[in-house]
Amino acid sequence: MSRETNSVEALAVPSYLDQTAEVSARFERIKQRPVILDVAQLSKSFSSPGRPPTVALDRVSFQVHRRELMCVIGPSGCGKSTLARLVAGLEPATGGEMLLDGKPIHGPGPDRGMVFQSYTLFPWLTVLKNVMFGMEVGSGMSSGEAEREARMWLEVVGLTKFAAAYPHQLSGGMKQRAAIARALANRPRMLLMDEPFGALDAQTRCQMQSYLLQIWRQVDITILFITHDLDEAVYLSDRILILDAHPGRVREVMEVAVPRPRSAEQFLSPAFVAARQHLEELIHPRAAQAADKLPVFRMTVVGDEVE
C-alpha cells in the first residue's frame, strides 16, 4: 500500500539530475572558484591488538571549493565523523593526503574551526570569553581587540544579551550558536561541523539550519557539514558527499538542484523531493527496508486493529 503511493510520487518528481539553467550556472561558478580543501585517497583504519584492523575510510577523494557548503552523509558506520576529525587534524590519517589551500594538513590548527555535536563551550567562561578564547589563546590578539571582535560575532549569532551568561544558562540551540560564533571569530578558512544540530529538538534544528545559511551567506567561509539527516543535507548543501559504510568509500558526489536562496517552503518542491528520494535510495535501499520487518506476532484481539 505505502510502497504504491511512493512509486506514484516518484513518477511525479523529476530526476534529481535535472537542473534549471540558473542552478547549473551557479554550479559552474562554484567550480571556477579555487579549491580550499583537497582530499585525495584518504584512508583511516583503527587497529586494536588481537583483532583485524577496522577500515573506517577507504581511499576517499573529493574537493571543496571556496564558499561552498558541502554536506557529508551516509549510513551509520560510514566514517563521516572520522572524516571531519581527520580534516580537523584531531586524528592522524593512515593514508592519503589532505590539502588546505594547497598546504598539507598536519594536526589541528586555527585555520579549520570545528563545531562538535556535544556541547564544547568551556563551562568556566562566559559566552563572551568563550568566543574570545581562540583569538586570545590561539592568535594572541590583545584582550580589548578580541572583545570587540567577539561582541561583533555574538551580534551575528544573536546572542548579544547573553554575553555575560555562563554556558549552563543557555539552551542547546544557543550553545551551538555560541560555538559557531567561537569557531568563526577565529577567522578560519574552513568550518567543520560534526552533526552540530543532532542533539537539538526538531524545531530548534530547523531554526539553526536557517541561521547557518544566513551566516554562511554573509561570511567568507567554506563549510563541511557532517549529518545523518537527509532533509538537512538537501536543505543546506551545494553538493552532498555520499559515503558507503564498511568500509567508508565515496559512493557519489551529488549536486543538489534546489535553487538558492533556500527556504523551508522548498521542502515540498519537486527538486527537493527528487534529491531527497535519491539520497534515501542510496542510504536506505528498498532491499534493506524489507529486512527491517520485525517478527512481531499478534498479541491483541482480532478487530482491535489500530491501523
Binding site: A88, G89, L90, G107, P108, G109, P110, R112, G113, M114, F116, S118, T120, F122, P123, W124, L125, T126, F133, G134, V137, G138, S139, G140, S142, S143, G144, E145, Y166, P167, H168, A179, R182, A183, N186, L192
Partner: protein, 350 residues
C-alpha cells in the same frame, strides 16, 4: 507529596534538607542523653550515697552494680544498715551536661601543671601541624597529580610507585621521621605529609583524567598550544573538582593527626587528651574530641561556602561577601592596565 523522600535520588526541599541535617546530629545526642539520664538504661555501676554498715564502701564511690548488691546482701544477713546509692555509668562515659560544662571551662581552667598547655594552646598547636603538613603535601601533590593526569607519560612514570607507597601506613615512618628530623614538630608534619601526599597525587590525577576530552579538542581547533591546553583548559576545567578533592583530603589529614602527635615529644591536642585521661577527667577528653570534630566540620562548611562563591560558573554558585570581594579585587586590577600597553600585562600574568 506523601513521603517523596522514599523515592531514590529524589530532591529534598531546603527545609527538609535542613531538618535532616539537624536530625543527623540530634539522633546521637538524644541517644547519649538517654543512656546518661535514664537510670534503667545501661548504668552498670552504683554511685554510693550512704555506705551504711559496709566495711569498705565510701560515700561518692563508684562500684560495680553486682558488687554493691552482694555487699548489701551480706549487710542484710548481718542485720546491719544497708548501703544506699544511685545507678551510674562508668567514669569513662560522662553525661552531656558534664561535657558541655567541660567545653566551656576547658578554655578557662589553667593546666594542672605549669608546663602543660592550655586547651586553646594545644588546639592551636595541632592546627599548625595539620596546616603545614597539608600545605607541603599540596604544594607538591597537586601539581604532580595534575601532570600525572594530563600527561600519560608522567603518570606512568610516577603513579605505579606511588600506588605501592600509599599502602605503607604513614605511622610506620614515625621512628624514621624522628631519626631524621628530631623530636619536635618536623616529624609530625612529615607524618601528615606522608599520610596525605600519596593519596593526593592519585586522586588529583584521576580527577584530571575525568576532564571532557572534547573540550581539549575544541581548544585545539581554536589554535591552543599544548601549554595553553594545560593552563587554559585542563586547569580551569578541573579546578572545581580539585577543590572538592582537597576538602576530602583535608579531612583525611586530620585523621593522621593523633598518630602524628604521638611521635617524638607528644604534643598538641593529643598530649592534652592523654593528660586528661591520666587525671581521669573524661569530660575534658570528650570535650577535646568533640572540639576536633567541630573544627573539622566548621572548616569544611566554610570551605564549601567559599567554593560556591569562588566558581561563579557552577549551577550551585552563590553571591556572598567573598565573591564580592573577589570581584572588587579583579575590577581594581582591571582598571590599572589600560594605561600601560594594551592587554600585554594580563598575558604575562597568565
Amino acid at each position: 507529596m506523601r513521603g517523596s523522600w522514599t523515592r531514590p535520588l529524589a530532591g529534598l526541599s531546603p527545609r527538609a534538607s535542613g531538618r535532616f541535617w539537624a536530625a543527623s546530629f540530634l539522633g546521637p545526642v538524644v541517644l547519649w542523653c538517654a543512656v546518661s539520664y535514664l537510670p534503667f538504661l545501661w548504668h552498670p555501676m552504683v554511685r554510693v550515697s550512704d555506705p551504711g554498715d559496709s566495711a569498705w564502701l565510701t560515700t561518692g564511690e563508684l562500684v560495680d552494680k553486682a558488687a554493691f548488691a552482694s555487699e548489701n546482701g551480706d549487710i542484710v544477713g548481718r542485720h546491719g544498715r544497708a548501703a544506699a546509692g544511685r545507678p551510674a555509668n562508668p567514669v569513662f562515659l560522662p553525661a552531656p551536661h558534664e561535657v558541655a560544662r567541660a567545653l566551656v571551662t576547658g578554655f578557662t581552667t589553667p593546666p594542672a601543671r605549669p608546663e602543660e598547655p592550655w586547651l586553646h594552646q594545644a588546639l592551636w598547636h595541632s592546627i599548625q601541624v595539620i596546616f603545614w603538613g597539608f600545605l607541603f603535601s599540596s604544594l607538591i601533590g597537586v601539581p604532580l597529580g595534575i601532570l600525572c593526569g594530563a600527561l600519560p607519560a608522567v603518570g606512568r612514570l610516577t603513579e605505579p610507585f606511588i600506588e605501592f607507597f600509599r599502602y605503607l601506613p604513614a605511622p610506620a615512618f614515625g621512628a624514621l621521621a624522628v631519626a631524621v628530623m628530631g623530636i619536635e614538630d618536623a616529624p609530625k608534619v612529615a607524618i601528615i605529609f606522608i599520610g596525605t601526599f600519596f593519596q593526593q597525587v592519585l586522586i588529583i590525577a584521576n580527577t584530571t583524567r575525568r576532564i571532557d576530552p572534547a573540550l581539549l579538542e575544541a581548544a585545539e581547533t581554536l589554535g591552543a598550544s599544548r601549554r595553553a591546553l594545560i593552563t587554559k583548559v585542563v586547569l580551569p576545567g578541573i579546578v572545581v573538582d580539585v577543590y572538592t578533592d582537597m576538602r576530602v583530603l583535608l579531612g583525611w589529614a586530620w585523621t593522621y593527626l593523633i598518630v602524628a602527635e604521638l611521635i617524638g615529644v607528644s604534643s598538641g591536642i593529643t598530649y592534652f587528651i592523654n593528660q586528661q585521661g591520666k587525671y581521669r577527667a573524661y569530660d575534658r577528653v570528650f570535650a577535646s574530641i568533640i572540639l576536633i570534630g567541630l573544627i573539622g566540620l566548621g572548616t569544611d562548611l566554610v570551605l564549601a561556602s567559599l567554593g560556591r562563591q569562588l566558581f561563579p560558573w557552577m549551577k550551585t554558585a552563590r553571591e556572598g561577601w567573598f565573591s564580592k570581594t573577589l570581584a572588587r579585587v579583579r575590577r581594581g586590577g582591571r582598571q590599572a592596565p589600560p594605561e600601560s600597553a594594551g592587554g600585554a600585562p594580563e598575558e604575562a600574568a597568565a
